[in-house]
């Protein structure tokens, strides 16, 4: 199941994570991923067939709150934190022509 991570896989992960990597970083994370997966090998051998996964350690019941309008932060204040805004909106570069 475990194998060394190839370059292309690192580049694919970086694209999924929206993280631009330098050549040196690709090499570094290729090594780190390999080390990490090698050290975690013993986890793969644990028999977990009798149990379900735990996503939260303390069991909780989610309660829905009443659907009531509450106060929210002033629009101008929220926008003031943004790097670029226009006409009461956050501004981002063009998105329609991206290729995937």
């Amino acid at each position: 199941m475990l194998r060394l991570i190839d370059r292309q896989e690192v580049i694919r992960m970086a694209r999924l994570a929206r993280l631009e990597l330098s050549e040196a970083e690709v090499e570094q994370y290729q090594a780190d991923l390999t080390n990490f997966l090698t050290s975690g090998k013993k986890l793969q051998k644990v028999d977990v067939s009798a149990v379900e996964g735990t996503s939260h350690a303390v069991s909780i019941t989610h309660e829905l709150r009443k659907d009531e309008v509450g106060s929210s932060l002033p629009r101008e204040e929220v926008l003031s934190a943004g790097p670029e805004t226009v006409d009461g909106f956050f501004k981002v570069p063009r998105i329609v022509e991206e290729q995937e």
Partner: protein, 470 residues
């Protein structure tokens, strides 16, 4: 802290005088300690004056009104810079207070400033802070631990009387141990995470750091309780500071897990912890050898889950609504360049590992497997509490290490060897100083209990603390 509160109540000292004292310490020590990222002297003095005004009118908000505190810089403070020790948020000022900060303000506590940490709380030494390492007050060539290293160092150095930290795999307890202060990782859900910048939401908890067990209990009593703003908040009561007596020790069963006293544990640490165990035994407690065999998987399980959750939590940093942006012609390039420029190497490493374990072709083998092993760990821990009341271990395998000593990330991750188990199983764990090594570096002892048994941890911690002082 009760003494300070008494001095304030009887008007022998003013909040302004107290705050000025701590700001003076900060000014004097910060150049080579670096426990703070932001010091808010103007804000803290204004809050102190308001507290003094309330006292003079006979309307203090709480017994602690006017006693200042330091807050880890991944906890939102309205209008006060909250950087998470990241370049990405170097100018970020939250528009709201975290619920825990709200609680401090409701008690009247001035906030001295925001303490240093590993970037986004990812690390065990504060060496991954974009603002430089927070040094250990006992030996400034050594780390303060992490990720709440600044919160621990500030308290240990006398720059703040107490502080808030956060703990995902040991981030309160390990620095508390390294700096010789008390730190609690509470039961998951007992303290609100609203406004606390997420690292791994299923593991993160806010907790108190203080000079004494009693102070930590007092601070915890201000933090614990349900919060409608946190969907994972436990439906639990508030916490009352316990009555301190020794009588309960007679009936106490203490689990001593052999796995925590084996290879890798420094002999000086073992000696100090065993000495405290003998003291407790001498007072009537029963030591019960137990096994927590699943701790063998704790670090790998923790790493898989923490990187997965972190890669998801950090997806929000895209340069759109806040934080730093690198301009580009299209959005995807803008996201990738902003994130590349804003994040440091450890954050990028964890995002890459987390993206890998969550990706469609590896999800089952890594992420789901780790979640199931987590169940085994939790069952192992809860099983142990059928036999014993508390479990005592060393907090860390060694005392504080030298700055720059751990260059290999895997080696750094082993710092959480004894602490990650509590986060994975959601139980509370308290680190209490129990001695020093021959170099004079503090040693911490960890007391774990089952869910919502914080009161018992504090009571045992109080006994350990007094026996160590003797």
């Amino acid at each position: 802290m009760r003494n300070l509160a008494h001095l304030l109540e009887t008007r022998q000292v003013s909040s302004r005088e107290i705050v000025e004292h701590y700001l003076g310490e900060i000014k004097q020590q910060e150049p080579d300690l670096n426990a703070f990222i932001t010091v808010d002297d103007v804000g803290a003095l204004a809050q102190a004056d308001a507290a003094d005004m309330r006292r003079s009118q006979g309307n203090p908000l709480s017994p602690w009104d006017g006693i200042p505190i330091a807050v880890k810089d991944n906890i939102s403070t309205k209008g006060l810079k909250t950087t998470c020790a990241s370049r990405f948020l170097s100018n970020y000022k939250p528009l709201f207070d975290a619920s825990v900060v709200r609680s401090l303000r409701d008690a009247g506590m001035p906030i001295l400033g925001k303490t240093n940490l590993d970037e986004f709380a990812m690390g065990s030494s504060t060496e991954y802070s974009a603002y430089g390492v927070a040094r250990n007050p006992h030996d400034r060539t050594r780390v303060s631990g992490g990720s709440s290293g600044g919160s621990a160092a500030a308290v240990a150095a006398g720059e703040a009387p107490w502080s808030l930290g956060t703990d995902t795999g040991g981030s309160i307890r390990q620095p508390a141990s390294f700096c010789g202060v008390v730190g609690l990782k509470p039961t998951y859900g007992w303290v609100s995470r609203y406004g606390v910048v997420a690292l791994a939401p299923s593991l993160d908890q806010v907790g108190p750091m203080a000079r004494t067990v009693e102070d930590a209990a007092i601070l915890f009593s201000l933090l614990a309780g349900p919060d409608p703003k946190d969907a994972t908040s436990a439906d639990a009561r508030n916490f009352e500071v316990p009555f301190w007596d020794d009588q309960f020790v007679k009936d106490l069963k203490i689990g001593v897990p052999e796995e925590f006293f084996g290879e890798g544990l420094h002999p000086d640490v073992e000696k100090a912890v065993r000495r405290s165990l003998r003291t407790l035994e001498g007072q009537g407690a029963t030591l019960v050898p137990i096994s927590l065999a699943t701790n063998d998987y704790a670090i790998d399980t923790y790493l898989t889950l923490v990187t997965a959750e972190a890669s998801s939590s950090l997806a929000r940093y895209d340069g759109v609504r806040y934080g730093e942006r690198v301009h580009a012609a299209d959005s995807n390039t803008m996201f990738s360049k902003s994130r590349a420029a804003g994040f440091g190497p450890e954050v990028k490493r964890r995002i890459m590992l987390g993206t890998y374990v969550l990706s469609a072709s590896h999800y089952e083998a890594y992420y789901e497997q780790a979640q199931r092993v987590r169940t085994l760990i939790k069952l192992d821990v809860l099983d142990a509490f059928k036999q014993v009341d508390v479990i005592i271990t060393p907090t860390t395998p060694t005392t504080a290490f030298t700055i720059g000593a751990k260059r290999n990330p895997l080696e750094m991750y082993l710092s959480d060897l004894f602490t990650a188990m509590a986060n994975l199983s959601g139980i509370p764990a308290l680190s209490v100083p129990c001695g020093t090594d021959p170099k004079g570096l503090p040693i911490g002892l960890q007391i774990m209990g089952s869910h919502f048994r914080e009161e018992l941890l504090f009571k045992v911690g109080y006994v350990v603390e007094r026996s160590a002082a003797r």
